[in-house]
Symmetry: C2
Subunit: 433 residues, 2 copies
């Protein structure tokens, strides 16, 4: 994004050259449908989590070609004058449906459906994919970590391991997937994600002794703060911490070594020192697997950084945005005809699609059902698509807190095997009607 | 970044609570040195590439706590009033040295050295790490792809697979590492990265036939355009393409199937049709290994997306930013004492550092030499650190084109084993004096 908040050049060059050629051929105004979907989940994953919806809708409203964007395109000969004029007047005027943010998705789920002319839909491709591919990768990894943590709070602290703006989006995605807090202050300001943090090793090293550092932190931040106890010697640090703060000490943080074994020793030491209420937070290269392995350790919270912001092995989720239907002309009333390429190894299903999640009589999800027509809602099904934009107006804006609520409900509805950490297939079959 | 271009909240909460506690203890103003380095290269990599310098210097100049940032911090009780006042007046007033952008680095290379008070250095940690960890990951992967391509041009087209702002930084990082062009228009506007692109499958599907689509594209974009030939049947598409454009056709693009075998067939077909000058561009899940495997195929250019923007298996490079020295008080003239934590498994070397690259008599790099004092420049060595900021003023700004020139020279200086695609150890030993 540039400094003035425009988003229109966050776009691949070829979207605009296609637009130019389609304006030339007259096909630019053909009514069209684009669909975003994933051909597969990241390897071994049992479900994916849709995220990015709220950010996409914000960016869509700022997708305008103003003088500075048009000047760049003109000066560099990216497109011709006819196209520049068209872009200068661009406002998306079509309709968008999408899976609710925080919803689960499966291979072939029509996560986003964009209906408009070819021209107005095609130039949104790059932006839509950037936002959804990133945010869904982070939320999908985060959701598994939340499951693995089994109710213990998770702290997102990966900002330093990803692009500074991706860090803000990552904090947002982790929060909607169930993380308790984030270290990222801009995520607090932009999205109301709760933020937290206390001190790093540098703070201890700055002072003449660990005791000086702990005293300073306790005096300034209060006894409910979290003291980092592994700069020198954990046992000595815990003793000093309780000596200075007493039983009111909020928490200690362990960032190195064998976290489970160390947490066990620190718990025993804290209890022996009368600090039975002092919590233990562990950090340091955690992922969903190491979190799960720590289930038996006396740990009260996990800080997760690198593995969260890199999608725990899947930093992108390979969502694609495809033209699936278009009219054969621009006259009103022409039918939308399904289209699909036949490239080797990249199957696409043409045609506009609708989707429902099918539930069993206990309310557990059993299938993702995809239809080439608008299905009747029936007992035992739940709609997954909701209107996001109607005739160019955003109608589906929600807060990240709404998305977080939805995600919690959606995970509760998934079958037990969806929540295993082991590698597996998609937990629900996608049934194409 | 927020809409007004501020960068100060792209920061971890704990940087500011540490600041508060250090202001309280009086240690905030202790002269300090922070160092950014990597304990190791990503697994199997033989060298890393420093990138992000130019972006970091830009963001440093905009790192200001204005009313909107201060209001957020105040409203949410992140820090106390003393700290808010300090932040409102914050300007970095220290010195920064760094490896030139595009330079190679090795484990322990002091990539960035920040000298100032503890307070002014510590609050830059998150931003510096975000920028360098991301951009260096992309540039490090890109550099290997450029080596693998052996002089054939590479097109960066991964915007859709990463966060929309990370996409712009990725295009910049790929360009400085030697990619020829990018699809990302904002990278063109912001950094002067050459952009390119022509059409996707959607353009062919939009029209009533492939012939209609190709005609429209050729008429609008000219015969030197690149036609995408794998929407339906490659052989038929190539025949149609040459029929319509003749021997002047610029290029064809193949995006699916066995790229090497298909390129071989298409080359033969193009030559037989008299289009011997028409180039062949291949795209579709390429990485450095598949690029190298295509060396024997008649391919004239590669488009790379996902693997580039995800760092080809290493989406972050685990750079850390550590307090390595500080004075024991704030009185002038006190010595800077080395500091380092003793956490299990995370060794740090305390003390301010300087570095040189040692070259043999043929000009090939043989070692990375790191000193705890400023070494004499001598025959057979090359300085790698350069001044970036002096007394708060940016003095080391360069364009991405300068960084690209440096990178080309640096790679030419690396020993042959550094340029192998197989997994290996760091190509140069890091010698600590």
């Amino acid at each position: 994004m540039n400094e003035q908040g425009g988003s229109a050049l966050l776009t691949d060059h070829y979207e605009l050259t296609m637009l130019q050629a389609a304006l030339h051929s007259g096909a630019a105004d053909r009514p069209s449908v684009f669909e975003m979907f994933a051909r597969r989940l990241p390897e071994g994953r049992r479900y994916g989590v849709v995220a990015g919806t709220g950010r996409f809708l914000d960016l869509l409203e700022r997708f305008r070609f103003r003088t500075e964007e048009l000047d760049f395109l003109s000066d560099n000969g990216v497109v011709d004058d006819t196209t520049l004029r068209w872009l200068s007047e661009y406002r998306f005027s079509g309709n968008v449906w999408g899976y609710g943010e925080g919803e689960a998705y499966f291979p072939g789920s029509p996560i986003l459906v964009v209906e408009g002319t070819f021209a107005e839909g095609v130039i949104l491709e790059t932006l839509a994919l950037s936002v959804y591919n990133h945010d869904s990768a982070i939320a999908s990894a985060a959701s598994r970590m939340v499951v693995a943590a089994g109710g213990r709070p998770l702290i997102e602290m990966g900002s330093r391991r990803t692009h500074e703006a991706a860090a803000v989006a990552s904090a947002r995605a982790a929060y909607l997937a169930g993380f308790a807090t984030s270290s990222n202050l801009e995520a607090g300001r932009s999205y109301g994600v709760p933020t937290g943090g206390t001190a790093a090793h540098a703070f201890t090293l700055l002072h003449d002794s660990e005791r000086h550092a702990f005293s300073a932190q306790l005096e300034s931040l209060g006894k409910r703060t979290t003291l980092l106890v592994d700069t020198y010697d954990v046992e000595r640090a815990v003793r000093t911490a309780v000596e200075l703060a007493g039983s009111e000490l909020g928490a200690v943080r362990i960032d190195s070594g064998d976290l489970g074994a160390t947490a066990g020793r620190v718990r025993a030491q804290l209890d022996a020192l009368g600090a039975g209420e002092t919590r233990i937070v562990v950090t340091g290269d955690l992922d969903e697997h190491s979190i799960q392995a720590l289930a038996v350790a006396p740990v009260d919270g996990y800080g997760v950084g690198t593995s969260l912001v890199t999608g725990s092995g899947a930093p992108t989720v390979s969502l694609v945005y495809k033209l699936v239907a278009r009219a054969r002309g621009t006259e009103p009333g022409l039918p939308l005809e399904p289209v699909a390429k036949r490239s080797v190894g990249k199957p696409s299903r043409g045609g506009r699609k609708w989707a429902l999640r099918r539930l069993d009589d206990k309310g557990l999800a059993v299938a993702e059902e995809v239809f080439p027509y608008e299905p009747q809602e029936a007992v035992g099904t739940r709609p997954v698509l909701r209107p996001l934009v109607e005739a160019g107006e955003v109608v589906g804006a929600e807060s990240v807190h709404d998305a977080r609520d939805r995600h919690r409900a959606v995970v509760a509805e998934l079958p037990e095997q969806a929540l295993r950490m082991s590698r597996g297939d998609a937990a629900l079959p996608t049934v194409f009607h």
